[in-house]
Symmetry: C2
Subunit: 116 residues, 2 copies
């Protein structure tokens, strides 16, 4: 799906489309999902999402931040410390995430469902 987030101001689609446009990208959902449980640092996210590359994770986090779904807090420490957490707006996506998880658990019978 074509990325829209923070790029095209006048998105034309319906609410559903526009919602989806914020959470597309291969890893955004997972990131949001992980953050649902609490603040995480950059490398914690990397470790939680094994297949994501640094570049991709950075990218997706930047977009999520630009869309106001997550908050990025940088600590002026010497080994850099950057923490990511859901914004209020991001947290409000919980029903959507949960609806997807629910559906997946029910309709895509598989194992790793809870692991995410």
């Amino acid at each position: 799906m074509p990325k829209v987030s923070s790029k095209v101001p006048g998105v034309q689609g319906c609410a559903v489309e526009r919602t989806l446009s914020l959470i597309d990208g291969k890893w955004k959902i997972v990131v949001l999902y992980k953050l649902l449980r609490g603040t995480l640092r950059f490398n914690e996210l990397r470790r939680l999402i094994p297949n994501v590359t640094q570049r991709m994770l950075t990218h997706q986090l930047r977009e999520l931040e630009a869309d106001g779904l997550i908050v990025r807090r940088v600590y002026a420490q010497v080994p850099p410390r950057v923490e990511y957490s859901l914004s209020a707006r991001g947290r409000s996506l919980e029903p959507v995430l949960m609806a997807m998880k629910q559906w997946g658990d029910t309709n895509l019978s598989s194992q790793g469902a809870q692991a995410a």
Copy 2:
């Protein structure tokens, strides 16, 4: 987002990811959304979704069908008649669609929300 539907059998992600992988693609959501209200013919869908090209619509419909979310019924008529409707599985996605719509309506204040 990379398409997974019916291409890679062993999808690895969590339930949320796998769910999303079925409904990505620029137009799938809209298509499902439109079909929520009832059966539609190919060109009806085209007219309802102004910016979709024939090729894209065909493509997305085929994938949705392959994923068992919609049903394609062809009538052996002379001007071809093909009707698309949601399968039970497709209809079961309603909560997800509605959660997204709800969120969009609430968080992306704009007009065309109900039009979809």
